[in-house]
């Protein structure tokens, strides 16, 4: 076979694997994601026609739900790949699979990040202004230009590794270990850098005291170590039920333990921040007051979420810290959901909105996302999760269900 026919065969073959041979839950899940995307396309068409005035963002709170989601998924993308580190250190058997699924999650997450930026900017038609050499990037001074560079490199690296592994598996050829592992190792510092640069985007703004704190980047990394693995733990449990993918309980419990340390560190950093703000009690405290209570006697619409995020963080920390609850699959999965929800609220709501409230001139605009924002965001989730689902389905089919692989009956 020539290379072209090999690639063509790969494309049609994987497309067949992605859409055929699933059970009814699989198709139901695809249908749900499809619905998310379809309804979002109407909401986005509306936003595209009338402008961002159809969101609740205004000059006072000029970034909102979209940018919060963007920040969250940068964290998921970063932490997904970092899971190869414990997989290597603790010598789990399926290290290649752990790396592959991590990379696939990273790819889907970065796609969601880029989509969240695309729906947030006022002139998506001018995206090319930020492409190196073609546009006019403001380097070295603009952190957002750096962010665009590192996110795209990270996307490219993960896409190359993941598709190369799947391609080799499809054609039953041995992958080049040196090539794959050098890229995987390169992606580890890249993972740290994408989340650090994203933190610097906020951190570097002296105009926003809420973000202008040196521990913002460490907090980003710590919280990302909680949300990314939470998704993968749930995925691993599903995969070992429905495919020949094998991962020992011990490995899963080890990840949960590492998440407990990450969450503990995250809570410590958060506590340090809260202490500094409340004890020094400067004018800048207003942002925390808005986050946790409200200003001028008016309750803040985000206070409930802020407390929920904190409560979820503390509960999941203890669920993962105590060996008994960590090793119990039910409490561990509850912990995964809580930790994911906690970090999602922390990044999606509690990071962005209080930074803008009150604004630079002391004015309070109580931002709550509009229905357009919620619907478009649901669509971006739909695209990301659909992409992830299809990629995982293909990978599982190639790695575990092909005749040349050691075919084993899926154990229930």
């Amino acid at each position: 076979m020539t290379l072209i026919s090999k690639v063509g065969n790969f494309v049609t073959g994987t497309a067949r694997m992605a859409f055929l041979g699933g059970n009814r839950y699989y198709y139901a899940w695809l249908a749900v994601l499809g619905l998310c995307i379809v309804q979002a396309s109407f909401a986005f068409a509306h936003q595209f026609q009338y402008g961002l005035i159809s969101t609740s963002m205004r000059d006072s709170v000029s970034w909102g739900f979209y940018i919060g989601n963007f920040t969250f998924f940068v964290g998921v993308a970063a932490a997904a790949v970092l899971l190869v580190v414990p997989a290597y250190v603790y010598d789990w058997k399926p290290i290649k699979e752990v790396a592959l699924f991590g990379e696939l999650l990273a790819v889907a997450s970065i796609v969601m990040c880029l989509l969240f930026v695309l729906v947030d900017i006022g002139r998506p038609d001018r995206f090319w202004h930020i492409i190196p050499f073609i546009g006019r990037m403001n380097l070295p001074s603009a952190i957002m230009a750096w962010d665009a560079i590192v996110l795209n490199i990270y996307l490219a690296v993960n896409l190359v590794v993941a598709s190369y592994l799947v391609y080799c598996g499809y054609h039953g050829i041995h992958y080049n270990r040196k090539f794959v592992w050098s890229l995987v190792i390169f992606s580890i510092p890249m993972a740290i850098s994408i989340h650090t640069v994203t933190a610097f985007l906020y951190n570097g703004m002296a105009s926003r005291p809420y973000w202008n704190s040196a521990i913002l980047a460490p907090r980003f990394i710590a919280s990302a170590f909680c949300s990314g693995p939470a998704l993968l733990l749930i995925l691993f449990q599903i995969l070992r039920k429905v495919s020949a993918f094998e991962i020992k309980d011990e490995a899963i419990h080890k990840v949960a333990e590492l998440m407990a340390y990450a969450m503990g560190f995250n809570l410590f950093l958060f506590g340090a921040e809260v202490f500094k703000e409340y004890y020094s009690n400067t004018h800048e405290l207003v942002h925390y007051q808005y986050l946790f209570a409200g200003l001028d006697g008016k309750a803040s619409p985000i206070a409930l979420y802020a407390w929920m995020s904190l409560a979820f963080a503390v509960i999941s920390f203890f669920l993962f810290l105590i060996p008994k609850t960590r090793r119990n699959m039910v409490t561990m999965n509850i912990g995964c959901v809580l930790i994911y929800a906690s970090v999602y609220i922390e990044k999606g709501i509690a990071l962005i909105i209080p930074g803008f409230t009150p604004d630079q001139l002391g004015q309070v605009y109580a931002y709550v996302p509009s229905s357009t924002e919620l619907r478009v965001a649901a669509g971006v989730f739909g695209v990301g999760f659909l992409l992830f689902t299809l990629m995982v389905k293909v990978s599982v089919a190639i790695l575990f269900e092909r005749p040349q692989a050691e075919a084993q009956p899926a154990h229930a």
Binding site: S62, R123, M205
Partner: protein, 312 residues
């Protein structure tokens, strides 16, 4: 019409030839890609021209002239009157500075609406480049107690004082630093400008500005034809599109022609002063040297060219 006071400035020089030119090799490719995506290429030539529009600083003098002529034609059609679009370069030996006398300001917002008319700000939805803050005399300047939405029958309200805020034209502007595409920059005469044809609408500059001076076009700007000011500047008060950022430019279309900014002209109490900081004889220099002057958020090292003072 009475003669308006003019700004003492050095004699204007002929416009400098040639902006920094950068060869955009890939532009041809882009035009092709865009032509493929824009249906009905011939009919949508304008849309294509907009799509591939170059950065202001990348335009050659000839390209700039073409662009200006194209804009004038388009705006003339849209607003039903002859529109002039200029690209007046900064004059040498000029650094613009502004001073505002807090002891005189009565919070009437004449400056706000004068600015809206002069600079073609959107009437629907409403965009104001100037925000007037009302604060308690007892509390002093404390932005946390400021109210931008006061609505009294008459001003000044008892016990209150007023502080108008617009772009502070920083020497060290955070908005310029954070813009990912160099769509905003500081001109040699100190005015921070925006290329509305290059801005991608990411709003990093709005997040980065410590003075709440920047405005985003959340919707399509609406200006009644008869209220449109046809004397415009490329980097100033020409019509803005939806999805881009705008802000005060010290009335670049006026001050580079030797006129005072509109807000200075319309202020009924003479609270607003403007001039060339490099001219030792100017009124602005007199104020800085002889009055109690301060700048907003000095600790951020933005080095504004906008000074507040107490003249009385």
């Amino acid at each position: 019409m009475r003669e308006l006071p003019t700004l003492p400035m050095p004699a204007p020089e002929p416009p400098a030839e040639g902006y920094t030119r950068r060869e955009a090799l890939v532009m041809g490719l882009f035009a092709l890609a865009a032509a493929a995506t824009t249906t009905g290429c011939a009919a949508d030539k304008l849309a294509l021209d907009d799509f591939v529009a170059k950065h202001f600083k990348d335009l050659s003098p000839a390209e700039l002239q073409d662009r200006l002529a194209q804009m004038e034609k388009r705006y003339t059609e849209s607003y039903g009157k002859p529109v002039k679009v200029s690209a007046t370069p900064a004059q040498e030996g000029v650094l613009f500075g502004y001073a505002l006398d807090l002891s005189r300001c009565i919070g009437c917002r004449k400056c706000v609406y004068g600015c809206v008319e002069e600079n073609n700000q959107s009437r629907d939805p409403q965009t104001h480049w100037i925000t007037v803050l009302e604060m308690d005399k007892e509390g002093g300047v404390n932005l946390q107690n400021a109210n931008a939405f006061y609505d009294h029958e008459t001003v000044p309200a008892p016990g209150k004082f007023y502080m108008p805020v617009a772009c502070q034209q920083c020497e060290n502007p955070p908005c310029v630093k954070v813009c990912p595409v160099e769509a905003t920059w500081r001109e040699p005469d100190g005015i921070v400008v925006i290329d509305y044809d290059w801005c991608i609408g990411c709003r990093n500059c709005i997040a980065g500005c410590p003075y709440g001076a920047r405005r985003f076009n959340w919707g399509t700007p609406g200006i009644p034809k008869d209220e449109f000011n046809p004397v415009t500047e490329y980097l100033g008060n020409r019509p803005r599109q939806r999805g881009v950022v705008e802000k005060c430019t010290f009335c670049i279309q006026r001050v580079r022609q030797g006129l005072y900014p509109k807000c200075v002209e319309v202020c009924p109490v003479g609270a607003r002063k403007f001039g060339n900081l490099l001219d030792p004889e100017s009124e602005i220099r007199y104020i800085i040297e002889n009055k109690r002057v301060y700048i907003l958020k000095e600790e951020l090292n933005t080095q504004p060219k906008f000074f507040y003072y107490y003249g009385l």
